[in-house]
């Protein structure tokens, strides 16, 4: 059984991505007790799936690793992975939380040796690579997963595959009898850091993400560019595996569009400029990048980054939102539209088209386990009616990593104020 020691002075952080980790660490390092709940089997969330950060083009393995270590070293933080908040009742200073833990089938004995993965043969779509690669039924979600423990896919439980994994384990870490369990505890304040998911590119019907192999979303392209990703970092066409050189980006794919997301997702312009760098770094003068845009929103100091990309002769900017993507007889995606600078009609074939899809809240407005005030786009409002529940990071609005972390620190401070009030009345 999982035991959680918690009181009304404990802060519950929901979501273990970069915002949730930051909020948890900031609160814990001031001496507060924190329970960090994460749905995935590991911390780090979407950030762990990035190849590089903008604007410094450094790797998440750097910043994320420091936070993983701070989480691990701090005795005030209890981390629950594969866990979801199923019920939350009460008011600021006195909440009752119910957490449902899904079985991992691997206990704390796991050393991360990987013997189980060697013997298991069943394969599944790898969610870490957005389904672009396969993973085994016994798997480590990614190379720097924290906690560094394997996971058994529930689909192999009760099959010979599970028995093989158990037999292969030398440290007795495989526990096939693990059951789903419920944990209940008290907490004084809640930080909601459930983050985002990429807008489903299939819904943008004219762009054909669901029909054409060579139309990818930006999160898929991010995985493709990562040396640890499905193609080993090679930029190729999924249809025929040929190297892709002529690459188009379509901005505002789903964002700022009343048919899809009302809001500007803020990160997609910079994400595209970042990914343009992946292409020009990998291909040099062979790169031929076209960015179709309405306007480039590289806010404040990111303007320098934008200027540098503009200076690159291998990158072309076309002021136009592409009207539709079709496919020619060679399997090349073709961007059709009319540009705004001269109203010229174009039908341009590319090797690969990347849709710069935006962010939407990962939790539907009606799926929260507690009444919470959200805005039209489904992001959590800073509203007094939310009591002791505070949003951190992208749960509150579309933000980049830098701003999400700042926002999470602010949320931690608000939660600390609530539990401090509890402490002063109880003393």
């Amino acid at each position: 059984m999982t035991e959680v020691v918690a009181t009304n002075e404990t802060i519950l952080v929901v979501g273990g991505g970069i915002s949730g980790m930051t909020a948890a660490i900031e609160a814990a390092e001031t001496g507060k007790r924190v329970v960090l709940v994460e749905k995935r089997p590991y911390l780090g969330g979407r950030v762990s799936q990035f190849y590089k950060y903008f604007p410094k083009m450094c790797f998440p393995t750097c910043g994320l690793e420091i936070n993983q270590r701070r989480t691990k070293m701090n005795p005030n933080i209890t981390v629950l992975t594969m866990a979801e908040v199923t019920s939350l009742e009460g008011e600021a200073g006195n909440y009752n939380a119910t957490i449902t833990l899904s079985p991992r089938y691997i206990n704390e004995n796991c050393t991360g040796c990987g013997d189980c993965a060697k013997v298991v043969e069943a394969e599944f779509d790898n969610e870490y690579d957005y389904g672009m690669s396969k993973r085994k039924g016994a798997y480590l979600p990614h190379v720097m997963a924290h906690p560094m423990r394997y996971v058994l896919d529930p689909a192999i439980i009760g099959t010979e595959e599970a028995d093989k994994a158990k037999a292969a384990c030398k440290v007795d870490a495989v526990d096939l009898d693990m059951q789903e369990e419920e944990v209940k505890f008290n907490c004084g304040a809640v930080i909601w850091a459930t983050g985002w998911q990429p807008y489903d590119a299939d819904k943008i019907q004219p762009y054909g993400h669901d029909r054409f192999d060579n139309v990818l979303s930006n999160v898929e392209f991010e995985r493709m560019c990562d040396p640890k990703g499905p193609t080993g970092g090679k930029i190729v066409r999924p249809s025929d595996g040929k190297e892709a050189k002529n690459i188009a980006f379509i901005q505002c794919a789903g964002s700022r569009d009343r048919n899809h997301l009302y809001h500007c997702s803020r990160i997609c312009c910079m994400a595209t400029l970042k990914q343009t760098n992946y292409v020009t770094d990998a291909l040099g003068d062979d790169a031929d990048v076209t960015i179709y845009y309405i306007d480039i929103r590289s806010i404040d100091r990111f303007e320098d980054f934008y200027k540098k990309v503009q200076e690159n002769d291998n990158v072309k900017f076309v002021k136009s939102k592409v009207a539709s993507v079709t496919q020619d007889s060679d399997g090349n995606p073709v961007c059709n539209g009319v540009d705004t600078e001269g109203y010229n009609r174009y039908a341009q074939a590319h090797d690969l088209v990347i849709l710069a899809t935006g962010m939407e809240p990962s939790v539907d407005a009606d799926k929260f386990p507690v009444d919470i005030v959200v805005n039209r786009e489904g992001f959590i409002e800073a509203d007094e009616k939310n009591g002791g529940i505070f949003a951190a990071g992208v749960a509150s609005e579309a933000l980049d990593v830098n701003r999400a972390v700042q926002h999470a620190t602010g949320a931690a401070l608000r939660a600390i104020q609530v539990v401090n009030r509890v402490a002063s009345t109880e003393a």
Binding site: C252, N259, V338, T340
Partner: protein
Amino acid sequence: MSDLNTNMIEKYRNSFLNEVEANVEEGEWVKMCMQCGVCSGSCPLGNAWDHPPQELFMMIRAGKREEVLSSDSMWMCTSCYNCIVRCPREVPITHIMHGLAHYAKRLGMQPKEQPTAKFAQLFWDNLMKKGRVNELKLGVDLYFKVGEGMKTAMKNKDIGMAMWKAKRMNPMEFFGGHAVKDLKGFQNAIKKAEELEAARLEKHKA
């Protein structure tokens, strides 16, 4: 203020956008366009237009009254609604195109010999006579006033005969045709609407 300044202010005073907002159906949406170009790229007849919708909107905002109202472009719209469906701002582009065409026609500024404009006039005149469209007369009018006359009529001869046999068309309709029940009432209603419309137009002119 110097004359030069006043002249420049007059030059750039955007009275045409106001005029469009007041007189063109759904014209108040023109200012919402963010010039992304999805409408123009989505138009199946786009290459037949001198100015795609996105450009027309920009021209309205730039005060190019003559060029817009005498343009052939909005008459090319076939109401496929691709643009409305895809517009990220839900601008009712199709309706604005028809509104612009209608307004240009009211002012007598539409291009001469514009076939869509001619057909629209035939349709209207035809409808006004009996309060319902006499399809046979409209078809024949179309052949002779927009098409190639007898040649076009002969081309459609077989279809006409088949429709007659299937009782989908009555040749006797050609001589007068039947009217709606209360033709007088219908005509009065239209007359009243025309008076109101004329008064509104006059008011804006003043």
